[in-house]
């Protein structure tokens, strides 16, 4: 208990919690909307390119974040543009991202040999994050940008959820569906660049998908599931950072991902349990079709 009290006497933990809280909130919100729009693997793609972006900036001698943001926003917008007109198949997407990752390895080599900052740790930092190594100014910037993402989502959440649930009806009602789609994927790019600084580029997908998946299983109403997803993400980061502090062997990004995964599994288990208990007495009389038919009614936006 005393260790928990003294925990916040360390400045680096304050900074980790500050950045981690807001970045997690942004990742949770964006993640839920990605799940709702069936675009989860955008996050996977962004996690591949963010590595290359970071090392492109480092190889040029710039701040890593410049490359990170430029690359993720660009690719986010590119995917929004490509997703509409042509649906490129898996091979094209996978091949292109494997190649971009290969370019990242090249830039990594250039960076480590030219800049003589030379060790393999640079790539590990970008790939798996180092939230305990954030400086004060970096933590403040990350928190501010993440807060901006959350505010924008709070503004566009209602029309965006409407457009995600029924695009045609939303378009007829005058919701700018296309503009929202572009804006949202650009926002996803920013969120991915933010998350890279906390959990690293390879683990973005986990932080984005796990709280969102859990919230989607626990809460049917999307307007309530959206904040729930943000809250679960913040919970994962808080618990993960605390565990990583108490057990120094565990890297913080592993602890965060572990908590998030446990949350998702728990949500799946309770969802199944609730489904079974709700269906149990009714199943004998009306059959499973009836039990399923009343579910969309619960999903109607309140």
């Amino acid at each position: 208990m005393t260790t928990l009290v003294t925990m916040f006497s360390h400045a680096y933990l304050w900074e980790a919690f500050l950045a981690g809280t807001f970045v997690a909130l942004a990742a949770g919100l964006v993640g839920y909307l990605l799940v709702l729009r069936a675009q989860v693997f955008t996050a996977d793609a962004l996690s591949h390119v963010s590595f290359t972006g970071a090392f492109a900036a480092l190889a040029l001698g710039l701040d890593l974040r410049v490359g990170l943001f430029a690359m993720t926003i660009m690719v986010g917008l590119g995917m929004a543009a490509a997703g509409r007109r042509a649906k490129p198949d898996d091979v094209v997407i996978g091949g292109a991202f494997a190649w971009i990752l290969g370019l990242g390895v090249l830039l990594l080599t250039i960076y480590t040999t030219r800049r003589s900052a030379g060790n393999g740790a640079a790539s590990v930092t970008v790939l798996f994050g180092s939230v305990f190594g954030l400086s004060r100014s970096r933590a403040l910037t990350a928190a501010a940008i993440a807060l901006g993402i959350c505010l924008i989502i709070a503004v566009i959440a209602r029309p965006l959820i409407f457009a995600s649930l029924d695009e045609t009806v939303a378009a007829v009602r005058g919701v700018p569906v296309r503009l929202l789609g572009f804006g949202f994927l650009a926002l996803t790019g920013v969120a991915a660049a933010e998350a890279t600084q906390v959990v690293g580029s390879l683990l973005i997908l986990g932080l984005v998908a796990a709280p969102a998946g859990a919230a989607a299983r626990l809460v049917a109403n999307p307007y309530r599931a959206l904040p729930a997803s943000g809250a679960l993400a913040v919970l994962s980061v808080w618990a993960g950072l605390t565990i990583a502090y108490l057990v120094p062997v565990l890297p913080p990004s592993f602890a965060i991902l572990a908590v998030a995964t446990v949350l998702l599994l728990a949500a799946m288990a309770t969802g199944r349990l609730r489904h079974r208990t709700r269906r149990g007495p009714r199943a004998a009389g009306t059959g499973p079709e009836h039990g399923r038919a009343d579910r969309p009614a619960a999903a109607q936006p309140g």
Partner: protein, 294 residues
Amino acid sequence: MDDVHFSVNLVADVVQMWSQPFMVNAFRAGTIVAVLSALIGWFVVLRRQTFVGHTLSAVGFPGAAGATWLGFGALSGYFAFCLAAAVVIALLGGRGSGRHSDESALVGTIQGFLLACGFLFVALYKGFLNGTNALLFGSFLGITSRQVVVLAVLAVVVLALLAAGGRPLLFASTDAESARVAGVPTRALDLGFLLVLGATVAAVSSITGALLVFALLVLPAATAHRLTARPARSLALSVLFGLVAVWTALTATYYSPYPLGFWLTSIAFAGFVVAAGGRALRERRRRGFRRFAW
């Protein structure tokens, strides 16, 4: 290695390269892996299972990192985890495939968690941080003769299985319904293919690293698919492209300061872009011609 220079005399280059035992082993392992991945990858593209290949390769990283931490070789870790993951995917497959977005959140979470586990093993095994890049992005250094033997045995087993089950697999992959009606055991074939795919991904990972498996597993096969629809010719082309990609990449890595992962992905992707672009151009010309004729 600093005083090696590429010359115009290709034979002398190859002789010089192969005077190094580690390069000979790299070429042996690379050749085995290229053939294996080209053949299996051809079926992966045909069956549209490229995403499964991607997931299996992400699983390989914690396996390799964990095995290195515990003192087994990375190769055994790749095999253990990729095969186990193939079994799990096979067991889960078929159930609840309708709810797409829910499942993608689960798959994404598991993938992220496994990569995080890999990072944990890397952190536990201190002083190993430089080796992380080799596990993720591939390396041609330090392939032992014993690993080459292991890869060769695996390749023989997989090729024997493919020779025995290739024809029904082709049938089941192109038209599952008709194959089932004709009495082909499609479910058993699905399971068997996933296991073979797991073993292949593990073998490919040992050369390309966990993150770049796609380049060698899918791209040569996809290039061949774009060029011809005839199975035999397409399979042969796939093997040819795989071999060319691996051999060129190994040579380029030996004679340049840049890493294997970069060369391999660039060469494989360039080949794919040329093939896909050529096909698109040809189709456009044909369509344009037809429009003109009308």
